[in-house]
């Protein structure tokens, strides 16, 4: 028998994998699956931002710019140039990453100033998407984007897309887990705690920050292409400051620095925004109140809730 802690962990991972793969059969409602699919796209996006904000401590308010760049790149390449989705998918990530490279000079800024500069960048990219109608079709949005496909597999409904989204989340998660546990991750941790101390340990903060920024941009670009081929319609207003803030909310709700938290946070926020629709005009008010209450949970977000409750019970 597989014994001990390690064996039990393997068993838990296996159980989770079976549960996730069986989910579309367990809960086959189309609307529900659609929301899950959207949640998976946001989970990829949130994982990238978690690396940037959580691990490296660089506050970005312009993440929707990279997300939108990826989405529009892939949509334009498939719709207007007839490129296969397999190629445009990669292109979406690469173009977003290149955009990230052009932004490297502003990484000299820190804290609030960096946040505002990225915010400004997001506004500029949104203005371009809105105004360059020859490229993006402007405020009416881009319609009839083809579904995602990989060779013989077409992901053209909620059910099929689920497996694509799940695979992307798992791959991103595993890659980032390796990254954060490597020398690279430890360097980021050092920079987050004190840039000055990191420099004295021979770490070049600007180099590391640039790398992580480009990785986050690339991931956001991939998430954008997933969104473009899931939704099959893009509107400039899907990529505003509100969207950047939404992703930030996801990683804080799930718990900063936790990769699992980014995924859970993405699911919670997507589900909350969809299912609060039942409350009509009170929907956003409830969402706002929920945010304020969740923020009182502290640095670990929902992840820290069980232990906080346990402490409180223990105290009596």
């Amino acid at each position: 028998m597989v014994g001990g802690e390690r064996g039990r962990r393997r068993l838990r991972v296996l159980a989770l994998a079976v549960l996730l793969l069986a989910l579309p059969w367990l809960l086959p409602q189309r609307y529900f699956l659609r929301v899950v699919d959207l949640g998976l796209v946001y989970a990829v996006l949130a994982l990238g931002l978690q690396l940037l904000v959580g691990s490296a401590g660089q506050l970005s308010l312009g993440h929707a710019a990279f997300y939108g760049t990826g989405a529009y790149t892939s949509a334009i390449l498939t719709r207007k140039l007839g490129l296969p989705v397999e190629l445009s998918f990669v292109a979406g990530g690469v173009v977003a990453a290149l955009l990230g490279v052009t932004l490297v000079p502003i990484l000299r800024l820190r804290g609030n100033e960096l946040a505002v500069a990225t915010l400004g960048f997001g506004v500029i990219v949104h203005a371009i998407i809105l105004n360059e109608e020859w490229l993006t079709e402007g405020p009416f949005g881009m319609m009839r984007i083809p579904s995602f496909r990989l060779g013989p597999f077409v992901f053209d409904n909620e059910f099929r897309f689920y497996f694509l989204g799940l695979a992307m989340v798992v791959l991103t998660y595993l890659a980032f887990r390796r990254l954060t546990r490597s020398r690279f991750g430890r360097a980021l941790e050092a920079i987050r705690q004190s840039e000055e101390a990191a420099v004295t340990s021979g770490i070049n903060p600007v180099l590391y920050k640039s790398k992580v920024f480009v990785i986050a941009a690339f991931t956001a670009g991939l998430a954008g292409t997933l969104f473009a081929h899931l939704n099959r319609y893009l509107n400039p207003n899907d990529f505003t400051l509100a969207e950047s803030i939404n992703v930030l909310i996801m990683i804080v709700v799930g718990g900063l620095r936790s990769l699992e938290g980014a995924i859970v946070g993405a699911m919670i926020i997507v589900f909350a925004s969809e299912y609060l629709r039942a409350f009509k005009e009170y929907r956003l008010i409830l969402f706002g109140v929920m945010l304020v209450l969740l923020m009182a949970l502290g640095a670990d977000g929902l992840r820290g809730l069980p232990s906080a409750l346990a402490r409180r019970l223990h105290r009596g």
């Binding site: 502003i106 820190r110 100033e113 915010l119 840039e195 109140v289 304020v292």
Partner: protein
């Protein structure tokens, strides 16, 4: 004439400055990016509609009333939302997101009260303009220039001459030392919220007659004022004043020379350029390592 847009830009800039002062006071006092500042301004503008159109209060009387309402609102936000969170020693990003939550609640609450349609202020100003030599000041810009300018001067006096103002500056500069000197830190933070709320209210009351008052004006104008605050230097009082006016002027001239679709984007582009040259803004206090 080049002077007309300049006057308009400075007038809008005074309004941005008032909101930016609110941002910078809160950043200086507690490193808080208060995203709901624009929504406090929005409540001021809509409350102004109710006062002036509904209750027939004269506009000039309504302005101080609105300032009191918004100061009270700002204090209430701190007491109900921010203070309980602050007590838990959470990271500052949690507090920032809580302010976003508050801004969502305020703007959607405003829809419930005032509806989603933009509301026009009753005609407050005549059509005659004030002529100062070659300078022509249209009446809707006169109030922002006079009231906004007056408030900024008054605030400057408050912070340099009054005991409460000096205590607030001391508390912002070094919390622990100020506490040892017998300054009640919680009290100074309440004063900061009240004054920043009053400034937001004044901005709303001045802005309402220029653009329509609506539930979403807080987001649009609030973000611009926030950029203005960064431009001047986050946490700096003179920075907020100068940054607001500079941003107002840039924006107005951008609208003249640039296709209107990119009008907003240009202001942000200039801001990024300035930050690259001066990473903590025009009047940044903090020396950078």
């Amino acid at each position: 004439m080049i002077l007309d847009p300049l006057i308009g830009g400075i007038a809008m800039g005074c309004i941005y400055s008032l909101i930016a002062l609110g941002y910078n006071m809160l950043i200086r006092a507690m490193n808080l990016l208060h995203f709901a500042q624009g929504e406090v301004m929005m409540v001021g503008a809509l409350a102004g509609v109710t006062l002036v159109s509904g209750l027939r209060v004269p506009y000039l009387v309504a302005i101080p009333v609105i300032m009191v309402i918004c100061a009270a609102l700002s204090l209430a936000l701190d007491a109900l939302a921010y203070r309980p969170i602050r007590r838990r020693n959470v990271p500052v990003i949690n507090l920032i997101i809580a302010t976003l939550g508050v801004s969502i609640v305020l703007s959607n609450g405003a829809i419930l009260i005032w509806g989603a349609e933009p509301i026009r202020y009753p005609t407050i100003y005549g059509s005659g303009a004030l002529l100062l030599g070659p300078v022509r000041i249209p009446p809707q810009f006169l109030a922002p220039l006079l009231v906004g300018g007056g408030l900024m001067v008054a605030l400057q006096f408050f912070f340099t001459k009054s005991l409460v103002g000096i205590a607030m500056r001391a508390a912002a500069q070094d919390r622990d030392t100020a506490r040892l000197m017998g300054i009640d830190i919680d009290r100074t933070i309440q004063y900061t919220f009240a004054i920043s709320g009053a400034m937001g209210g004044a901005a709303g009351a001045l802005l309402g007659p220029i653009i329509f008052a609506s539930f979403n004006m807080g987001e649009i104008i609030g973000i611009k004022a926030f950029v203005a605050a960064t431009l001047g230097g986050l946490g700096s009082m003179p920075g907020a004043m100068v940054g607001g006016i500079v941003f107002g002027v840039i924006e107005t001239f951008a609208a003249l020379f640039i296709s209107s679709g990119y009008k907003d984007a240009l202001g942000y582009g200039v801001m990024i350029a300035i930050l690259l040259v001066a990473p903590s803004g025009l009047f940044g206090r903090r020396a950078r390592a």
